[in-house]
Subunit: 109 residues, 2 copies
DNA sequence: GGTCTTTACTACGCCTGACATACTACTACT
DNA sequence: AGTAGTAGTATGTCAGGCGTAGTAAAGACC
């Protein structure tokens, strides 16, 4: 077992995606590549997980989607983070620090 | 929102429980108190979560249960960690380090 | 003596997020 | 012609966490 189980990352996929939307709009495929690259191939998000996260986050008001013709002439669905999404992201960052502190009481290294 | 969402801790409840069984056998109520105390009241495991974790882990061979009459004369179900449970715990500790490393690439603090 | 709190569980069923599987469609390369 | 990469959609399953409720016995308090 080398890799991260889905039960662990669960609850942080949204956060990871929002992080990648902080500075500029993006779309599914690009985000999945960024995650893979930034994690040095240690985490590869599943397509279905990614796209269902987009749907959920749009419903929750954390992102807004729009269609755009890319440089290559193809239509893509882009996502933009909302103010509410930024707030949510920062909240999750604070939650992460708390979680880390708690979990590490029970980890022997 | 102050506290840890269940989606975050998911996948680490078993690890936390196993940690508390490393040095001596214990039972549900005591374990829930230990978690509360060791996390300085930051994490309180739900009863149903705890007992279903025991059931699952026994099925997976990570713990073994036995009934014992406690000092107060009442019958309790105690749990003992198995060798396989110890291995699993250590695996989860390694996984935690990896997860931490990955997630922190996407956290702004 | 009656009620409340703590201890120590069991039963049942719902919800959510992750994921398996499958399918579409277009481009570029070989 | 076939494969790999890009960019998704659709559908359904599964596991873990949790809400709700109920049981039962011991001790505390008023």
């Amino acid at each position: 077992m080398a890799g991260i189980s889905s039960d662990v990352i669960r609850g942080y996929n949204d956060t990871i995606i929002l992080f990648l939307l902080m500075d500029r709009d993006s779309y599914g495929y690009e985000i999945s590549k960024s995650i893979k690259q930034m994690s040095h191939d240690k985490y590869v998000i599943k397509e279905t997980t990614l796209y269902s996260a987009f749907t959920r986050m749009e419903k929750n008001g954390y992102v807004r989607s729009y269609s755009k013709i890319a440089e290559n002439g193809k239509r893509r669905t882009y996502y933009r983070i909302t103010d509410s999404g930024r707030e949510y992201y920062l909240e999750k960052c604070r939650e992460w620090e708390l979680t880390k502190e708690v979990v590490e009481h029970f980890i022997r290294n």
